[in-house]
């Protein structure tokens, strides 16, 4: 794959350019939707959860982290089918198509988190030192999304309703993840299952290192790394099996 690094770079930047319509403002337009969602959620839920510590910042951090997962998986889902020419007319290692799509999302997400830093600083009055751990967490998150992307994109070639199914699953997952409500409202008997959700753990870690200034617990690190490794292994195994007949199925 290393010998195709030029192609990976080109596809990633082409993807970014297409997404932001070649303008610097395009990036800010793309920020509008999560910020609006954050505003709406804040407006309605502040009366219920407003007394939670740092409700507004935690909401923003949670939404940004969530966004990387949804946009990353949704755009990598179509990475193979959407680039039919590069699959049926020429040989390239096909993982590249998924990788470059997730990389473009990674760059977008990094920019969004960078925008978040001054906001956190303004609302909190300081930036915790633990924010330096952010790149490490984001790297693990990236592998989880890449793994899921490999799985979804290869299944999508064979089953063209995978995108609808995934949409529904993602919507359910949104409500099963403490983004706009605190973890404390979950009843005790459900909590152990709840904490198995890797996105819950990721969001918890982002809030720990970016807002609370705390180190993540060993348990959450085990969960996120475990899920990232498992997703990547399963994703690349399924992908390499299914990719043999990609060109026939498209």
């Amino acid at each position: 794959m290393w010998q195709y690094r030029e192609l990976i770079r080109n596809l990633t930047f082409a993807d970014l350019k297409n997404r932001y319509q070649n303008t610097a403002l395009g990036f800010f337009w793309s920020l509008l939707s999560p910020l609006l969602l954050a505003g709406v959620l804040y407006f309605f839920f502040r009366h219920i959860f407003g007394r939670e510590e740092n409700f507004a910042i935690n909401l923003l951090v949670g939404l940004m982290a969530w966004r990387f997962f949804t946009t990353g998986t949704a755009s990598s889902l179509g990475a193979i089918v959407g680039k039919a020419g590069l699959v049926t007319k020429v040989y390239i290692p096909r993982q590249i198509l998924v990788l470059s799509s997730v990389l473009a999302n990674l760059i977008g997400s990094l920019l969004e988190f960078i925008i978040l830093l001054p906001i956190i600083f303004a609302l909190l009055g300081h930036l915790p030192v633990t924010v330096l751990l952010f790149p490490l967490i984001h790297f693990v998150y990236f592998w989880l999304i890449f793994g899921v992307g490999l799985l979804l994109s290869s299944l999508y070639v064979y089953f063209r309703d995978v995108n609808y199914i995934w949409d529904v699953l993602v919507n359910i997952l949104f409500f099963c993840t403490p983004i706009f409500y605190p973890l404390s409202i979950i009843p005790d008997y459900l909590l152990p299952y709840y904490l198995l959700n890797p996105i819950t753990q990721f969001i918890g870690i982002y809030r720990d290192v970016m807002v609370a200034g705390a180190l993540p617990s060993l348990y959450s690190i085990v969960i996120v790394v475990g899920f990232a490794v498992a997703a990547y292994l399963v994703g690349s195994l399924v992908f390499s099996k299914l990719q043999r007949r990609f060109a026939e199925e498209m």
Partner: protein, 249 residues
């Protein structure tokens, strides 16, 4: 030295009676117990070798397996059995302009297409001017590709492709597009590649250009090699078979 070594490959396509391409249809199919499909052998026990610097032609009627064979050589399709070994840098021209993006400029697309063909940025920098000179598109380099006419698009794609300097080229009918002037340019370039001792596999219905380019050819029929050898002989076998068929009907 052989540049391409094809050992006994077969390729089977499955043609389902009812195309199921959603999870939903597959579940329904499972319940109704419909998994029936027909098997169709696009290639059956095909073996051959291409030496370094040789141009090999592949001819045959529509549906004889020519394109399937070329796609297997291009590593786009995988054979069900047998093996293929390829040596050196391979460029497949199954279609020109793979990966071109209409929203980006000609310049950006040249870099993208070159990297699809396995070139590094520095190598493209060196031939960048030649690409635009050959395509006669220098003054359009900053125009978005969606505003190109189809002829301009084709010239840019072809020019980028031939500057990728592969050792082996797999060519499928791409020369059959464009106007007469463009086709002549393509033929000249192919002959130049031949003179430079590049390995070429050429699939075409145009028997004259096969005769002109290739010393050796393969005649495929229903996925099997009928004759292989000197192009003149292979073409006359092919024509004889076509004659025979028209007599029978």
């Amino acid at each position: 030295m052989s540049a391409i070594f094809v050992d006994n490959i077969s390729k089977k396509f499955r043609i389902p009676h009812e195309k199921k391409n959603t999870v939903f249809q597959n579940i329904i199919g499972l319940i109704k117990r419909q998994f029936d499909y027909e098997e169709f052998w696009a290639l059956k026990d095909v073996s051959f070798e291409v030496n370094k610097g040789e141009a090999l032609g592949i001819i045959g009627r529509n549906g004889s397996g020519k394109s399937t064979l070329l796609k297997i050589l291009a590593r786009v399709l995988y054979p069900d059995s047998g093996s293929v070994s390829l040596d050196g840098k391979i460029a497949s021209f199954l279609e020109l302009g793979v990966g071109f993006q209409p929203e980006l400029t000609a310049q950006e697309n040249v870099y993208i297409y070159s990297s699809v063909l396995g070139m590094r940025r520095k190598q493209v920098d060196r031939v960048y001017d030649n690409i635009f000179d050959f395509a006669e598109l220098k003054k359009f380099e900053n125009m978005k590709l969606k505003n190109f006419s189809s002829g301009m698009y084709l010239r840019l794609a072809f020019s980028t492709a031939i500057h990728a300097t592969p050792d082996t080229m797999l060519i499928d009918e791409v020369l059959a597009v464009g106007d007469e002037a463009f086709r002549k340019k393509c033929r000249d370039k192919m002959n130049q590649f031949k003179a430079e001792a590049k390995t070429i596999v050429f699939v075409s219905h145009d028997l004259n250009s096969v005769k002109e380019l290739c010393q050796r050819s393969i005649f495929l029929h229903e996925g099997k090699i009928v004759t292989m050898g000197d192009t003149e002989k292979v073409i006359s076998d092919y024509l004889a078979m076509l004659q025979g068929e028209t007599h029978n009907t």
